[in-house]
Symmetry: C2
Subunit: 300 residues, 2 copies
DNA sequence: GAAGTTCTGTGAGGTTTGATCACATGGCTC
DNA sequence: GAGCCATGTGATCAAACCTCACAGAACTTC
């Protein structure tokens, strides 16, 4: 009997949001409900499945292995639903279309967006999430946010607005009490993302370090799941500052070797010489917001 | 704001079931609710999306183009969710595991299953849906239902239990008033399924007919969506009798050229010489149920 | 063409689900 | 141990959802 016994779908949605954010409070914000609602939904879901999806102390919750697997699958499935949904009408043509890296949107851009909206109430903004290539014309994108090195782009004006600090991060539990040496880290499982497979190499280059091959390599589709996996103690991730700032502050993650400035920076791309006025305003705001973002303490 | 505005998920689930079955009543059965609940859910969903998903007279409802696209995407997404769900415990080892073609399960097997359960109350059965290859041992399958020609199988005992009658089917509207000739059908868009790409060729061979290339070819992942597409007037499908029996009876579809016996038959596969007693009982019941299924009227 | 069949649409009413608020609890930091 | 932060939970209320029963629409049958 086909899929007669799917668990409550609203619970799945709540859990998926929790999986991406790693905190019920943030998931609750995204879904516009209180943290209590999320808490109940997830508990209900765990009860239904008979499997623990979260573990650890209440104030520092992590995903279990089963939870991580489920959350990743759900993200994919919900993305697919989102993609096949018939769009009633395209957003008004005058809306500023911003194409942004998914995790950067979630962890950096969206929390700061209200400030832009407050300053420019007449400029409606729509964020779409994508990490792949794009076409300004075909995709109706006014401004894109991507990681870029210094190489020039043929058909885009590139404005770096945020430095990119990276370094190995892991959970305090996994680090144990041992000395936080390069060698110790090298012996732990290493986590990667599909979107930026070169981050470890980049870090080695920038840091002038050299790591032995990892005992285990594990790849994730998204940064946020890699970070949750690191928090769950599954291995060492190459964490960009903008994405792990809160987790470092709260102690969910630690960066024993510190963070160093990476070569690519976060950049705003606009069509060469043709940025719309709204896109220019948004770009200027990005530069200001980037400058106002504190760099990691003690970064090189 | 990632996926802040997904429509009500329960509505999506209801619509997806409706999409597969083509009738609210059947979708309601699957979800164990009344047809009224499904009706409201779908209406609600259409309202939310601002797009018509169904059309046609109330007693002969069809999917719109948008509805078909959405339903197919949802089936895929919900299948994915089902696949990543952590399984609490595997079904008890003594449960008879039957691997069945998805559409055959939905349209033929599941409606008849209560009869088996009534006859064999001590033999718990679990149907899993799959159209691909399988491994008796690795997948824990006791009996599989697949389409097979006459060729022997190296490691399975093959028991045909149902003849396979096929023929071109289409909606009465698409047929119009014209004469139901081979030529007229050949000029209409032709529908295919990914799982049985050869059905048209097979029919041509068996019928001794020869069709010109279709003006449009369109492929679907599942038989049930191909059938819904045919009902919606999108083209001509190669309909197996077991799947279109009800639709032919109700007049939602017509088979102007009749149905002929196809070469492959629906077969029960058991591990060579190692069928469990329960699997043998199930196989015997399949043979009886197949013999009791009326062949299409006037079939060759 | 009247009665019967088979679906879906819908009003009224009840039940369940789910959200909120406010407070409790547990782990951490300082 | 005071203060902070995040989650868990009891009580309560609102909204979502389902059922029942009946109505209506399209078709078939006699």
């Amino acid at each position: 009997m086909a899929r007669r016994s799917l668990p409550p779908l609203n619970g799945l949605r709540a859990f998926e949001a929790f999986g991406r954010h790693g905190r019920m409070t943030l998931a609750a914000d995204e879904l516009c409900v209180t943290h209590g609602a999320i808490s109940r939904q997830i508990r209900q879901l765990e009860l239904h499945l008979g499997v623990a999806l979260t573990e650890g102390p209440k104030s520092r919750l992590r995903l279990t292995e089963a939870g991580l697997r489920l959350a990743q699958g759900l993200t994919e499935a919900l993305d697919q639903i989102d993609a096949v949904l018939p769009r009633q009408v395209q957003a008004e043509p005058r809306t500023l279309q911003v194409s942004c890296l998914p995790t950067f949107a979630m962890k950096w851009l969206i929390p700061r967006l209200p400030a832009f909206v407050a300053q420019h109430p007449d400029t409606p903004v729509r964020i779409s999430e994508s990490s792949g290539p794009f076409d300004f014309r075909a995709d109706g994108v006014d401004l894109a946010i991507r990681m870029r090195g210094v190489e020039p782009s043929p058909d885009a004006d590139v404005t770096p607005f945020l430095d990119h600090y990276i370094g190995p991060v892991l959970s305090p539990e996994l680090a144990g009490g041992g000395p936080p040496t390069l060698e110790a880290l090298g012996r732990l499982p290493r986590l990667h993302t599909r979107t930026f497979p070169g981050s470890w190499t980049e870090w080695e280059t920038q840091a002038g370090a050299r790591l032995p091959p990892a005992p285990i390599d594990r790849e994730f589709d998204h940064y946020f799941y890699m970070i949750e996996a690191a928090a769950a103690g599954l291995g060492v991730a190459m964490g960009p500052w903008a994405f792990v700032e809160r987790d470092l502050a709260s102690g969910r993650l630690i960066a024993p070797l510190g963070l160093i400035r990476g070569l690519p920076r976060v950049c705003a791309l606009t069509p060469r010489g043709q940025a719309s006025p709204a896109a220019r305003r948004f770009r200027d705001w990005l530069v200001a917001a980037g400058a106002a973002s504190p760099p990691p303490p003690g970064a090189v």
